[in-house]
Subunit: 228 residues, 2 copies
DNA sequence: TCAAAAGTGTTTTTTATACACCCATGC
DNA sequence: GCATGGGTGTATAAAAAACACTTTTGA
């Protein structure tokens, strides 16, 4: 890109939209805003905002997520850019889409309420504005891909969790039932979790062991990357 | 995104950068520009351009590729957006990165020469400006991912090609030698190719059968998606 | 003691890898 | 007839999938 050509170039509005996944009551959920304006009054939208001159798209997403959920250090991945000239009827806006994973239990519910955000089960998503449905679908695909070579859950589950809870999370992400035995074997074989000497007896008499994610330095780098 | 907030928002310069892969002489190659200006005079850069108001990022990439190579209908995939505020010393520019696959044999060499573009083997890439090295690495990763669940080659090889040529392409993409027998079996099992009654005798006395990609309607949808 | 959830073990199938071998042909 | 790639077959190993079985414990 020649520097001399920087001046007099067309500039664009650039937004960030976040597909915010949470997990609660055995279901993967999505945080959405109810739109208060025409067009598309009453429809729902992803959580979004403008990108500023002095920040990266990641930083913009972090800023927006912090504002809505009160949380920092949220796990996030870029999905892709949406740039069709007429994707937004309000004007020419490029949107950089991220997906984020958060633990619904620990986010600031006052804030989300204040901003009129609601959680929806991914089995029951309302109609979304513009191309937000496509954004969500791509984000879910990306999450599934990640979940199939890495154990996702660190950001969606409480610090201590059982393998049953982890499996239910996976069932919810992939929309199918994983075999309990095989799932357990696969997860254990990745040796990314530590078992605690502590059981969750709320679901059964026998009780299920709690697990936690290993810290970075505990992880055996040689044992990684397999399909679930 | 509220419509009332569209006005008075900060606007941004948005560029498109293309990681253009080609294949020739048994090597995967990359098309690069030699930079004629300071800063970074003499370093190389990806092929890029500005995005216009009335076009999507994809359309901008198509326009730029058409200008440089003379080709239409080029296979392309979005890699990701690069948006760090200081990534470009010339100013705040967001860059949307695509990778493209083209058959070097059929592109317009006069054009690439005219624009000062050169092909480099991916085993011998010169120093690139800004964050273009990272863009290239991500693009190659994305290409490898695609190549492992889909047969890439339709856009890099001539219409008719031997399985030996396809294997050499894969060797070049992944930087390792695939087992001839196993590679052949795997490719055939995907039943995405048709064998012609025609041999390439330029490499051996026996000759190797030519293959072509099946057309969309010939492809058996049930046989897809496996790792190579 | 038995129901119900947690956890383990066994069998089968599929896929990947390594490598030996046969084939066709021009010299 | 033999060297040289091209192509096929087989044997082994590793993963995934299916599913039977044992363990624990409160009611």
């Amino acid at each position: 890109m020649d520097h001399v050509t920087y001046i007099n170039q067309e500039k664009h509005l650039v937004a960030v939209d976040c597909v915010i996944f949470g997990y609660e009551e055995g279901e993967l959920k999505l945080l959405l805003f109810k739109r208060q304006l025409e067009p598309d009054f009453g429809k729902y939208s992803l959580v979004g905002g403008w990108i500023h001159q002095n920040e990266s798209a990641e930083q913009a997403a972090e800023r927006i997520l912090q504002k809505i959920t009160g949380l920092d250090n949220i796990f996030m991945e870029q999905v892709q850019v949406f740039s069709k000239p007429n994707r937004d009827p309000g004007g020419r806006v490029l949107s950089i889409v991220y997906y984020a994973l958060i633990d619904i239990k620990i986010h600031d519910k006052k804030r989300t309420n204040q901003y009129g955000a609601e959680w929806f089960s991914i089995n029951n998503i309302p109609q979304l504005i513009f191309d937000h449905q496509e954004m969500y679908c791509l984000a879910l695909n990306k999450l599934r891909t990640k979940a199939s070579y890495d154990i996702v859950g660190k950001d969606l589950l409480p610090k201590e969790f059982t393998l049953i809870q982890l499996r239910q999370l996976y069932n919810s992400i992939f929309g199918r039932d994983f075999d309990p035995g095989n799932f357990r074997k696969k997860i254990v074989s990745l040796s990314a979790l530590n078992r605690l000497d502590k059981k969750d007896t709320s679901e059964s008499k026998k009780g299920a062991y709690y697990y936690v994610f290993k810290t970075i330095d505990e992880i055996d780098i040689s044992v990684r990357i397999v399909n679930i």
